[in-house]
C-alpha cells in the first residue's frame, strides 16, 4: 500500500505533464476554469497534416544532425577513451579534467566565439557547422560512457585477437566494437538526446538555414495555440522513443543471430 502511494506520487510528478499535453492536443479550446475540456477537436492534428512537409523536414534534419553528432563523437572519443581507461601516464587526471569541461562551462562562452570562426570558415548556417558545435558540446558524455566500457572490458580480448593474427581493423570491428556495444549505446543515446533537444546552439550556428524541430517548436510555445505546441512537444518524446525501440530490436536481432545473449 505504502509502495503504491509512493508510486502514485512519482506518476503524478512525471506522467501528469504528458497527460495534460495529450489532452491539450485534442482540445484547442481548453481554458481556465475548466478542469476538463468541454469541446474536443482534431484541429492540431489537421494542422500537422497540412504542414507535414515543413514539420517532417524539420524532424528529419534534426534526427540527421543528431545521428551525425553521435557518429562524430564516437570517432572523436574511441581511441582517447581506450587510452584514458587502460593506460597510466603522468598528468592523466589533468587531461581528463580538461577534456570534460565543454559539458560543464556555459555553452555560450565558446559558442559565440566559435560562431565568428565558423563564419570566417564559411561553415556558419551549414549542416556541418551545426554538427561540429553539437559534437564539441556533447562529446564528454560519449567519452565517459566509452571509458567506463573500456575499463570493464580491459585489453585482454584485443590482445587475444591480435595474438591470433587479427589485424588492427579486424580487431576493431569484429572484437572491440561488438563487445563495447552497450557502452556505445549508452553514450550514443545521451549524445543523441542532447543534440536533438538543443535549441540555442542550432539556432545560433544554423542561423535558420538549417531547419530543426526545436527551432520549429519554439515560436509555437509562446503563441496562444497551446494545442499545437502540446502536440509537437509530444513529438519530442515519440521520435527518440521510436528510435531507441528500433535500436533495441536491431541489437537483439544481431545478438540472436550470433547466438549471444
Amino acid at each position: 500500500m505504502k509502495n503504491l502511494i509512493f508510486f502514485s506520487l512519482c506518476a503524478l510528478l512525471f506522467i501528469s505533464p504528458l497527460l495534460v499535453l495529450t489532452v491539450y492536443s485534442f482540445a484547442p479550446g481548453w481554458k481556465f476554469p475548466q478542469l476538463i475540456p468541454e469541446h474536443l477537436s482534431a484541429r492540431a492534428f489537421v494542422f500537422i497534416y497540412q504542414q507535414w512537409t515543413a514539420i517532417g523536414k524539420s524532424i528529419f534534419i534534426s534526427v540527421l544532425y543528431s545521428l551525425a553528432s553521435v557518429l562524430l563523437t564516437l570517432i572523436m572519443c574511441y581511441f582517447p577513451a581506450a587510452v584514458l581507461a587502460q593506460k597510466e601516464f603522468k598528468g592523466k587526471k589533468l587531461v581528463e579534467g580538461f577534456l570534460i569541461t565543454p559539458a560543464l562551462v556555459p555553452p555560450m562562452s565558446f559558442a559565440l566565439g566559435l560562431h565568428y570562426m565558423l563564419i570566417k570558415l564559411g561553415l556558419a548556417d551549414t549542416f556541418t557547422g551545426v554538427v561540429l558545435i553539437l559534437s564539441i558540446f556533447s562529446y564528454p558524455y560519449m567519452l565517459r560512457a566509452l571509458m567506463a566500457g573500456f575499463q570493464v572490458l580491459g585489453n585482454r580480448y584485443s590482445l587475444c585477437a591480435q595474438n591470433l593474427g587479427a589485424g588492427f581493423w579486424r580487431t576493431l570491428f569484429r572484437v572491440e566494437l561488438p563487445l563495447l556495444l552497450p557502452a556505445l549505446v549508452a553514450g550514443g543515446s545521451v549524445v543523441f538526446l542532447v543534440a536533438f533537444s538543443e535549441y540555442f546552439l542550432v539556432f545560433l550556428i544554423g542561423g535558420g538555414a538549417v531547419p530543426s524541430f526545436t527551432g520549429y517548436l519554439f515560436p509555437l510555445l509562446t503563441s496562444s495555440d497551446r494545442s499545437l505546441a502540446s502536440l509537437l512537444s509530444l513529438g519530442f518524446l515519440l521520435v527518440p522513443l521510436l528510435l531507441f525501440l528500433f535500436l533495441e530490436m536491431t541489437i537483439t536481432r544481431i545478438y540472436r543471430k550470433k547466438g549471444m545473449n
Binding site: 508510486f7 476554469p33 572519443c77 562551462v105 556555459p106 555560450m108 565568428y116 563564419i119 558545435i133 533537444s197
Partner: protein
Amino acid sequence: MSCRSEQFTGGVVLKLLPLLLPYLLLFMAGIFLCLAQSMGKFLPVPSSLQNFEAYVRIFEDSSFYACFAFSLYVAFLSTIISVISGAFLAYGLWKLPAWLRQAGIIYKIPLILPHIAVGFVVLVFWSKTGILASVAHTLGVIDSADSFPNILYAGNGLGMILAYALKGTSFVMLMLLALLSGFDQRQVQSARMLGASRFRIFFRVVLPRLMPGIHTSFIILFLYSFGAFDIPYLLSESQPGMLSIRVYNLFFKRDLVNRPEAMAILVLMFLFAAVFIFLYSRAVSGLSSSERKI
C-alpha cells in the same frame, strides 16, 4: 591492464589526437576568440572598447551584480531542490518491489523532453490561467484567475526554478539509481534488524554511498542552470534577468559596439565555472579524506 606509469609519450598523444585536435581547434579556439573579442580584438566591426575597458564598464554597472546574483540564486535553488527530491525519489524507487520498479522508468520522461518543452509544461501548469489554477478553482480555493498566486512573472524566477528542478530531479535520479543498482538491499535490512530507524538508515547507510553521484550531479546541474539559455529565453522576466539573457541582448539586439561587453560577461561566467569546479572538487576531496580518518 598495465599499471606501469609511463611518461606522456608520443603514442599516448597520438591516440588522444582525435579528441585533442577538435578540443583545441574548436573549444579552446572558441574560448580564445571570446577572450580576444572581449578585449576589442578580432571583431567584425571595430569597437571603441579596447583592452579591459569592457570589464571596467561591467564592474561599474550595478545591474550586472544584480543579474549575477539572480543567476546564482536560480541555479542554486533549482539544484538543491533537484538533488534533495532526486535522492529521496531514487531511494524510494529502488526500495519498491521489482514489478513497480520497472514501471518507475517513467522518471525518464523529463530527461527526454527538451528544456524548452519542460519550460512549456511549467507554463501550462503554473500560469494564472493554467491547470493548477483550474484545479484550485474547482476545489473552491480561488474564485478567479487573478487570485491565483503570480508564480511565473513575479520577478522571483520561480518559473525557471520549477522547470530546472523538474528536469534536474530526473537527472539526479538517473545518476543515483545507477549507483544504487550496485548496492545490496540486505544491507538496509540488516541495519533495520539492528534497530536503526528509517531516518538513520537513509542518512547513515544509504546517503554516504550516494554522495559521489550527488556531487557530480550538483556540479553539472548548478553550472548548467547558471549559464544556459533555453529555459530563461522562454520563462525569464525582464529585471533582473539571467546573465545568459543579458549576453544575448548585448550580442544580438543592441549595437555591434557592445559586443566586447557581451564577450567579457561570458569570460567572467567561464572563469566562475572554472573556479567553481576547482573549489568544489577540492572541498569534496578534503571532506572525503577527513571522513576516512574517522
